[in-house]
Symmetry: D3
């Protein structure tokens, strides 16, 4: 169980319910996942995190799916089990195909490998890359 328990909709304060409602409305879904129910123990963090995510993940210069793929890439690199499960599901909801998932994994794996080759060989930054 989550550290401070999960706050279900029926037990939530009006302040928390307002955010739950906005999450479901924005995501066009009828349920709230555990991440938010856990954060609801801290309404200030719930509100700030949701508003930040809502702003950041909205389509802009990058589309919604690309942003979700980036979210998965970070979560996989960090070995965050919950985040991998929830954001892979979110990516599928936003249209990620199996083929896209496969390529995403390949790139994430490769990047994690070459990050260590660059560090281990103590490669210095090329002048051309200095901005």
């Amino acid at each position: 169980m989550a550290t401070l328990g999960l706050i279900e909709y029926q037990d939530a304060s009006p302040e928390v319910r307002t955010i739950y409602d906005d999450i479901m409305l924005t995501r066009k879904t009828d349920w709230i996942n555990n991440f938010w129910k856990a954060l609801a123990n801290d309404p200030a963090t719930l509100k700030r995190t949701w508003e930040d995510i809502k702003q950041i993940m909205a389509p802009g210069a990058l589309n919604a799916l690309t942003k979700e793929l980036i979210y998965v890439a970070v979560s996989v690199t960090n070995q965050c089990g919950y985040c991998i499960a929830s954001h892979t599901a979110a990516a599928k909801n936003k249209g990620m195909t199996d083929g896209q998932f496969r390529e995403l994994m390949a790139v994430v794996g490769m990047a994690n490998e070459s990050n260590r080759l660059a560090a281990g060989y103590q490669v210095e930054i090329d002048e051309q890359f200095k901005v």
Copy 2:
């Protein structure tokens, strides 16, 4: 300097030169960055890494720019200075706008934050996310 030094084109074996040529041809550029010059101390790793990257980063279900953005996201999460510099430059070469870079950073930052909130609150994976 890199741990085993950098292998310049004029000092490279024919085997290494062939890979250098393919890198420049594939990337439509006339120089080789330090990462490859360092790996050239191990021709087997140079060859394997280049062939893997060439295969993985080629446009497919995901386009070349999206793949490069994912590469940057991983490199930033891992705090790999060389990789951040080189792949940010690569992303620009592939057309990343400043606006896309800004949104990329925002998503990477947010994902790293929420990864820890999920872990710290010990949130369990929702049944709906179990595949």
Copy 3:
């Protein structure tokens, strides 16, 4: 199960029992958690780790609770499930309130976010911060 199994008190050597006794005495508790029972497979590591932790976590310039909060912050950043569970429990035992836990999580999340923004924007260290 742990890789080498868990060494229960009744099966432990006198050397290991002495450490178990000191752990329970120091922590004012009557049981040993699995971390120590796993380490007991390597009495030298058990002894060294316990003595280090006992020394490091004792109140000094920082009080015991502050040290435990720092321990949780590191464990969450590293996504170590066992460590998050055990050190969150330890922090509660040392008096961490729910309010303190909430703020701890908020800071840990924020720090993980801004760490990546600093890295991704390739921000150079200000002269004023160079010691």
Copy 4:
């Protein structure tokens, strides 16, 4: 140099200047460090990040210094050079003594060590720690 350059006060938009002013006022200082000058390339992220940090780092259930120590602990664990330099300086400004810094480092080192011992020995979470 930072990826998109640094926005100095005299070159900043009124929107950015307002945030710079609030940073200096809140921190009782007369200069802006590079982190914010880099983020200023993305006014939305600058605003969101500053408002989040201002809210999160304000004294509450945890005092300002404890929060800053936690920030340093995360930054050290993540090997973020910029963040270590800037938040160590911030902690000193908030009153961190050399003795507190030494103990902070000792705890951070120990936690990073025991996190790996717990993972490597594949220790299962004790029933007593399950909330």
Copy 5:
């Protein structure tokens, strides 16, 4: 369950079966572990990953057991549960004794600790270490 499910031998394409056969032949075993069954959803990644691992993990300047110990050290540092379990088992198959495992863990723990002490104290690289 794995994200895209697991591909059992009887359900595998001839291309995948050929790799499964090579894995079992190379490892002198009669079963395929879940990692490969998951990767089989992406035959290109399965093939590339297996061929890379086969090449990299073959005895050379370092023997097979030493390479496996290094694999475990990385997996523990990254907190990858699956990888810790599978590569610890692989190391045992290659002859790792309990005594070697204990020392491996001690070194991995120590390195993770001193990595943070070096970063936290902002230690500069000695001239003698610059290559």
Copy 6:
């Protein structure tokens, strides 16, 4: 410069000099690297860290070079610049050949890649790997 400065031999207390002497004697060298000069600001941590490292890195079930290779593997995975430089130098002093370094890097890179493939594909631990 290091956060609290570096303590040179001539400025060190007798307690610190004793440890410096033991480091030089044990390592058969006539100088002290910056890591220890930084830790000397905290004699308790200097003493504990040196004694732990001396015990852990001594040849046992694993030889001294193998232990140093593992240290490098962890340092590279963590992107710790100081640690990569110092432990790569230490490994060379203990006899690491260029060929061994190349294979070490290849394994470290591969492990970091496959760690993410295992996590990203959400692979469950095989029954056979459960101990």
